[in-house]
């Protein structure tokens, strides 16, 4: 190997790094600034609407991990869901359950700050799964919801 270009290549590289020195950092300072997530965001949580659920357990069948636990009891012509539990510690957020749900009772959530200190806290029971102001459904596999959500921040358009 020879010293091919008398250091021209190194000089070009240094010019490029210097150019980047003058560029603005692209980092987002996370807890203070938050980017809008995708409208189809698959967060590590599920949002479940009890009134729409018929207890058919299609979601439980479609889960690759066998993660969704449903116990139902017959009440007249429909089923009452006694237990609906998802262990999000084992959930891989693939969204297959949401896609499979024929009554659109199950949605992926938009939250992503679901770190917990204890393992049992990541098991979502019937009460935890219900929507609340913090737990909003995402538009994954549900175009009606998708239209109402804010647009995603894209880095491509960032200067």
């Amino acid at each position: 190997m020879k010293f091919e270009h008398y250091g021209r290549g190194m000089a070009k590289g240094m010019a490029l790094t210097f150019k980047h020195l003058l560029r603005h950092p692209i980092t987002t300072q996370y807890p203070e600034q938050k980017l809008n997530v995708s409208r189809r965001f698959r967060g590590y949580e599920l949002v479940w609407y009890e009134d729409k659920c018929t207890g058919c357990a299609t979601c439980a069948k479609s889960c690759p991990q066998g993660n969704i636990e449903i116990v139902t009891v017959q009440e007249g012509d429909r089923y009452k869901v006694l237990k609906f539990e998802v262990d999000t510690g084992r959930c891989m957020a693939c969204g297959l359950c949401v896609e499979a749900c024929p009554y659109q009772a199950l949605y992926m959530g938009r939250g992503y700050e679901r770190a917990r200190y204890r393992r049992r806290e990541v098991v979502l029971t019937k009460e935890d799964l219900k929507p609340s102001p913090e737990r909003q459904p995402s538009g994954y596999a549900n175009p009606e919801v998708e239209e109402q959500l804010p647009e995603q921040t894209l880095l491509v358009y960032r200067k």
Binding site: G7, G13, R39, P64, A93, L96, Y140, Q152, L155, V156
Partner: protein, 367 residues
């Protein structure tokens, strides 16, 4: 006095910073020179092939995300191609185009990581890697837009895609495609002519053509060895015969050639993306496939040109809802067969560079 001189045995890995995960090399050193080497894998073995036997055909798709986690889209694609071949499912035109767009974006993203980490292993203090992360982030934004996740996409479905793209996707891809060549120029400005990089990579880790073919090496490593073999041209799957692009090949088959092949492939991927966006037809993105698909008894092998090489799925069906056998031909795994021949005689500093130039992902090696 007799001086006792014996070769030094170093177990490089599984938690060495530049083994791309949990790869382990058992190096025998004479001073700094490597005299023998044995690759050891299996620290990330999760038995995905066994897991696939207990899941329905659709439920295997999220598992394939976990193979080569820098190329999840292409893993999805290879798997659904195999199932479609097995069950004889026709995919709509629009889905084919979208698959090509996703696959090429994925290739750019994976090659960005390969080149960036190669820079890191050469000892750049993260600079090229972080520049490349910037572009990869843009691609991940796009993927997040279409499928809601940034790493494990689970986007392809048997018979198409899980969703059609949202309307803001195409303008964003167009913007990305328009500015990407400029960024590739920047990487080349930073790396391609840098004298230290040339000294470190040129002539290092030569893999002769015959050895490359015999060792079942595929992907950029094979092409850098001068074999013009790209499944997109050699065995066009999906709709690749409709696009114009070139296959870059190397001449010296060294680390630098592998680097250049990857850079050039990124440019060619941008070319394919431009054409695919232009030709994208309207229509459905998914055919109706039963939820519990039962393909006829038989077997199918489908392969695609994943960013790391030929990714193939050999599926055997017994007519039930789960694959009877799902064999994954992982490019990263077969590519490390040639590692020993490339390493011997070089120094430890070269070991990480040559290893990085193969660009393996341990999720795929160990499966």
């Amino acid at each position: 006095m007799v001086l006792k001189a014996e070769p030094m045995l170093i177990s490089m890995g599984p938690h060495h910073p530049s083994t791309h995960g949990v790869f382990r090399m058992r190096l025998v050193l004479d001073g700094e020179v490597i005299t023998d080497m044995e690759p050891m894998v299996g620290y990330l073995h999760r038995g995905i092939e066994k897991l696939a036997e207990t899941r329905t055909y659709t439920q295997v798709i999220p598992l394939t995300d976990r193979l080569d986690y820098l190329g999840s889209m292409t893993n999805n694609w290879a798997y659904v191609l195999a199932v479609e071949k097995l069950a004889g499912i026709k995919v709509p035109e629009r889905a084919e185009y979208l698959r090509v767009i996703m696959g090429e974006l994925m290739r750019i993203s994976s090659h960005l990581m390969a080149v960036g980490f190669l820079g890191n292993e050469l000892g750049c203090t993260f600079t090229p890697l972080l520049y490349m992360f910037r572009e990869r982030e843009k691609i991940m934004d796009l993927f997040e837009m279409v499928c809601g996740q940034r790493l494990t996409y689970n986007y392809m479905r048997i018979g198409g895609l899980s969703h059609d793209i949202p309307e803001e996707f195409l303008p964003a891809v167009k913007k990305f495609v328009a500015e990407m060549p400029h960024y590739i120029d920047e990487y080349e400005q930073l790396l391609s002519e840098n004298e230290i990089l040339l000294a470190r990579t040129k002539g290092v880790g030569i893999l002769p053509q015959e050895l490359a073919i015999s060792s079942s090496v595929t992907g950029p490593v094979l092409r850098a060895s001068g074999v013009k073999w790209d499944l997109r041209k050699a065995d066009p799957y999906s709709i690749y015969e409709r696009f114009e692009f070139d296959i870059p090949t190397g001449t010296v088959s060294d680390v630098y050639d592998r680097y250049l092949v990857r850079i050039t492939e990124m440019r060619q991927s941008v070319r394919i993306l431009e054409q695919a966006i232009k030709q994208l037809p309207p229509g459905e993105a998914r055919t109706k496939v039963p939820l519990l698909l039962r393909p006829p008894v038989g077997e199918a092998y489908a392969h695609i040109e994943a960013p790391k090489g030929e990714l193939g799925f050999y599926l055997v069906s017994d007519g039930s809802i789960a694959p009877y056998r799902c064999r994954i031909r992982a490019p990263s795994f077969t590519n490390i067969t040639a590692l020993r021949d490339m390493l011997i005689g070089w120094k430890i500093a070269d070991a990480v560079v040559i290893f990085g130039s193969i660009d393996i992902v341990l999720g795929e090696v160990d499966r």
